[in-house]
């Protein structure tokens, strides 16, 4: 029965189960769609989790955020929050912003939500840290807690005195420290600086103490102000600034004082070595009452200045020199010595400073100038004798203009001086030095004026124009050598000698030129009449000799027919007449003090130049003569020459040779020709001579023919010569011509062959030329 009951129960149970409504189940997709629809219809306001599996309302989100914040200890990053809550960051951000707005306990810093409880906790931590380390900086804390410095600073400001027990640095709000820390640092700094005896950069000590920069300087300043640390700081609040302990400064000053007292000067270098940075100012401050002279590398006190002045005076009064470098300590460099000297010699006249360190008296120089007096005289005489041409141009224009300039300057100087004197009145001391200076320059100017004046006089006396190359007496080196050989200068340093030499150079040269000029004038003055006559006579002789020769040659040329005649005339113009012109031109040039290099061999251009440089009255006829040389007519040349030689210009007597004289000349000419021919080996030259010689023997006239015209002359001879002789001559001539051609064509072998042939024939030709003469002569005599 129990079974049946049980069965009954099951049956009922089955019915009940079957009749219960089926569970209304929705698939997930349906639900998502439904919720979407609801949200669309704004029936519900929900947020999705980022995986999309959950919905939550905003109130719930707020709650969760706050819970999370509490769990994390009052500070949470929004990104962490997003991960923890699995909600989109934008929702969290907006929610957090809202929260921060409404809740004053919450702040949002750098994307992190922070509650006031965290503030308290942080303050406690900072306090712990502060007490542990003695000091903390905002930057350090910010770094440590990964918070912005501003936030930390605000926090510290808020909590200082309550949660954080310490003090904020007055100058630097970023540093917090405890009182004990400050006193510890003070002690350290005090100790460190008390131990210093030399200047030390503050930074080194600061690094040793490990103190913060600002605090360090505040403490240090306080300590110095209190007088606990004795010393001073230069350079302000930097690590670079240097601490000078008083003890150091004192010893430094002592050293400087004692050095100055002992030596009378101070060297900047040594002061710098002592560690004094701005030496000049330091010295100025230190020795306010001393009359120091500041130079480039040192400054000099009055004692040394006096010493120098004394030695300068000494040297000046004894007319010798003194090397100040020997008087001064060796540390002085030459530029400074120079400056010092210019300062010291300002008030002295006749002092010459050279090589920066040597003072010589002006008299020393003028004395040494005297040494050269004799030498100058000697050399001048010598020189005048050797080449008087050099002296032809006196007193060149440059000197003259210079003299004028100098005079002007001197005048101005005078004027200025006068004006200055008028204006000076109130400031006498200031202008004193300069006045003297101008005076001295004026004096110098005057001295030179005198010299130049004498120059001028000389120039006037000489009365010539034109220029002349510098007449050099001795170059500087030579002057130096002379000076060195003198006993007075034995110990003299080279610089002084060089200086004196360069000082003497110009005056000596001038003196020398003057001397040379006066000697020249003497020579030309006394010896002119005789010499001139003599040279004029020579000139006349030469010109007339040449002229007669030319005449004779002209006569010879007239025997030829026209083309050859003009050719001969041209040749004559080019040779003898040109020589004649040259002689005339150079003679005139010498007379007018124009220098020329050589006497006779003037090229056309050189001659033209020379003619142009001559005075006008001589220039015109010479020019004409010069032009006729390029013409063709001998007649023209002769007339102009005669005109030139006539009394109006040169007054050279051109005597027409008489018969006897003519014959003599012709004979002499033939003699020279035959002599030449005998000694001649060159076949062409021999041919030339032979032909000319033969011409003369047959016509009793001289011919002056160029090589070119030899065949023409030979032809002319045909009538009078034997056929055989004529033939051998023509043959020889042909050979000569062939040889010349062969030579021109570079045919060596042929040249040699011809040469041999010519050489064998040469004696025969010579014989023809010489013997023919004799036979003809005898024939004529008969």
């Amino acid at each position: 029965m129990a079974d049946l009951d049980e069965l009954r129960k099951y049956q009922l149970e089955f019915q009940r189960v079957q009749n219960t409504a089926a569970k209304q189940k929705l698939s997930e997709r349906n639900v998502v769609e439904l919720v979407k629809k609801l949200v669309e219809l704004k029936l519900v306001d929900v947020l999705y989790t980022s995986d999309g599996k959950e919905y939550l309302t905003s109130q719930h989100l707020t709650k969760e955020i706050l819970d999370e914040l509490a769990v994390q200890g009052g500070r949470i990053n929004l990104v962490d929050l997003q991960q923890a809550l699995n909600v989109d960051l934008s929702h969290i951000e907006s929610k957090v912003n809202e929260l921060v707005k409404h809740d004053k306990n919450l702040t949002l810093v750098l994307g992190q939500l922070i509650s006031s409880s965290y503030h308290d906790k942080l303050a406690d931590e900072i306090n712990d840290r502060l007490h542990e380390q003695g000091h903390v900086t905002v930057a350090e804390l910010a770094n440590l807690y990964d918070l912005p410095a501003e936030f930390v600073r605000e926090l510290i400001e808020e909590k200082i005195g309550t949660a954080i027990k310490g003090q904020v640095d007055i100058q630097d709000k970023d540093v917090v420290f405890t009182d004990s820390f400050v006193s510890r640092m003070t002690a350290r700094i005090r100790g460190g600086f008390s131990a210093l005896t030399v200047p030390v950069p503050v930074g080194i000590i600061r690094n040793r103490t490990g103190c913060h920069e600002r605090l360090f300087h505040t403490i240090l300043e306080d300590l110095i102000k209190q007088g606990r640390i004795k010393g001073s700081i230069s350079g302000g609040h930097q690590d670079k600034s240097v601490f000078y302990p008083d003890i150091y400064t004192r010893s430094q000053n002592q050293w400087v004082d004692s050095f100055y007292a002992q030596n009378g000067y101070l060297e900047y270098d040594s002061l710098v070595r002592l560690g004094i940075p701005d030496v000049k100012n330091y010295v100025k401050k230190r020795f306010k009452n001393e009359k120091l002279l500041f130079l480039k590398s040192c400054c000099v006190g009055p004692t040394i200045q006096d010493q120098i002045e004394a030695s300068i005076d000494d040297a000046l009064s004894s007319d010798s020199w003194v090397d100040i470098a020997a008087v001064l300590p060796s540390s002085f460099d030459s530029n400074d010595i120079g400056k010092l000297l210019t300062h010291c010699t300002q008030g002295r006249q006749g002092a010459l400073v050279c090589a920066n360190s040597i003072v010589a008296s002006q008299k020393l120089i003028s004395n040494s100038a005297k040494l050269f007096g004799d030498v100058i005289q000697q050399k001048a005489e010598q020189n005048v004798k050797q080449n008087p041409a050099l002296l032809k141009g006196d007193g060149d224009k440059i000197t003259v203009s210079k003299v004028i300039l100098d005079e002007n300057v001197a005048h101005e100087d005078k004027k200025e001086q006068r004006r200055k004197k008028a204006a000076a009145g109130s400031r006498k001391e200031g202008t004193g030095g300069r006045e003297i200076k101008t005076k001295s320059t004026k004096k110098k100017g005057r001295g030179r004026d005198l010299e130049n004046d004498s120059d001028d006089d000389v120039t006037a006396a000489a009365g010539g124009g034109g220029r002349h190359p510098d007449l050099v007496f001795m170059d500087r080196k030579e002057i130096e050598q002379v000076l060195e050989s003198q006993s007075e200068f034995k110990e003299c340093p080279e610089e002084l000698i060089t200086e004196i030499a360069s000082q003497l150079y110009r005056p000596l040269n001038k003196q020398y030129q003057e001397a040379a000029r006066s000697i020249f004038l003497q020579v030309s003055g006394s010896g002119t009449s005789a010499d001139r006559k003599k040279s004029f006579g020579e000139l006349q002789e030469r010109v007339s000799g040449l002229w007669t020769n030319a005449r004779l040659f002209e006569k010879g040329s007239k025997l030829f027919k026209d083309p050859n005649q003009t050719n001969l005339a041209k040749h004559l113009l080019k040779t003898l007449c040109t020589d004649m012109t040259n002689i005339l031109v150079s003679a005139l040039a010498t007379e007018h003090m124009v220098s020329i290099s050589e006497d006779t061999h003037l090229s056309t251009e050189a001659r033209l130049k020379l003619i142009n440089s001559l005075p006008k009255d001589v220039q015109a006829p010479l020019m004409k003569l010069h032009q006729t040389l390029n013409g063709q007519s001998l007649e023209e040349f002769f007339t102009t020459l005669e005109n030139l030689c006539s009394s109006s210009h040169l007054s050279i007597m051109l005597k027409k040779p008489d018969k006897k004289k003519e014959r003599q000349l012709v004979f002499a000419h033939r003699q020279t020709l035959s002599d030449q021919l005998k000694g001649e080996n060159d076949p062409a030259m021999a041919m030339h001579l032979a032909v000319v010689l033969l011409f003369q023997t047959f016509t009793q006239a001289m011919v002056h023919a160029p090589g070119r015209l030899v065949p023409a002359v030979l032809q002319h001879l045909q009538e009078s010569l034997d056929a055989e002789k004529y033939q051998s001559l023509t043959l020889f001539q042909d050979l000569v011509v062939q040889r010349v051609q062969a030579e021109a064509n570079g045919e060596q072998q042929k040249v040699q062959d011809l040469m041999q042939e010519l050489e064998t024939m040469l004696p025969k030709i010579k014989e023809i030329a010489l013997t023919t003469k004799r036979s003809v002569q005898t024939h004529e005599d008969q």
Binding site: D3, L7, F14, Q18, K23
Partner: protein, 170 residues
């Protein structure tokens, strides 16, 4: 073979232990209890998965079962009476579920509206005697048959929805 979904449902139906037929007295009661338990579980499962598809009750002896079954096609519920007897040789012989309303309307049916079961059913059942019971027969037999036949029948217009029938009548 049966499809996956059917297999899953089948696995969730508790198995039976007692091998007894209606003539076995006490044993049958025991068997009947087990049948009920498994049916209860099956129905519960169906309801949980929102797949309730039949009502069944038996006579006092538990030899004759009757009720309704339904199938939802295109949002319309087609409901049919279902009945079957427990054969004397049960559980060796499987039950023959009949839908008398559909007698003669489909080829897959024996005389008297008994449904033709798939070839797989019988050997499956035979292998699982006495573990399979009425619930298994429903899940393995009628469920699949309905899912195949009803849409076909509706498509052929052999059966129509009652409301539309009414609509046609009225």
């Amino acid at each position: 073979m049966v499809d996956e979904a059917t297999k899953k449902t089948l696995a969730q139906i508790p198995l039976l232990k007692t091998k007894a037929g209606p003539r076995d007295g006490e044993q049958w009661v025991q068997r009947l209890k087990e049948e009920y338990l498994s049916l209860i579980q099956y129905v519960k499962n169906n309801k949980d998965s929102d797949n309730d598809w039949f009502r069944l009750e038996s006579n006092k002896e538990g030899t004759r079962w009757f009720g309704k079954c339904w199938y939802i096609h295109e949002l319309l519920k087609y409901e049919f009476d279902v009945e079957f007897d427990i054969p004397v040789t049960y559980p060796t012989t499987a039950v023959e579920i009949a839908l008398p309303e559909l007698d003669g309307k489909t080829a897959k049916m024996y005389r008297g509206g008994k449904i033709c079961l798939t070839d797989h059913f019988k050997p499956l059942w035979a292998r699982n005697v006495p573990k399979f019971g009425i619930a298994h027969a429903m899940a393995l037999g009628l469920g699949p048959w309905l899912a195949v036949e009803i849409p076909d029948l509706i498509a052929r217009g052999v059966i129509t929805h009652k409301s539309s029938e009414n609509a046609v009548k009225s």
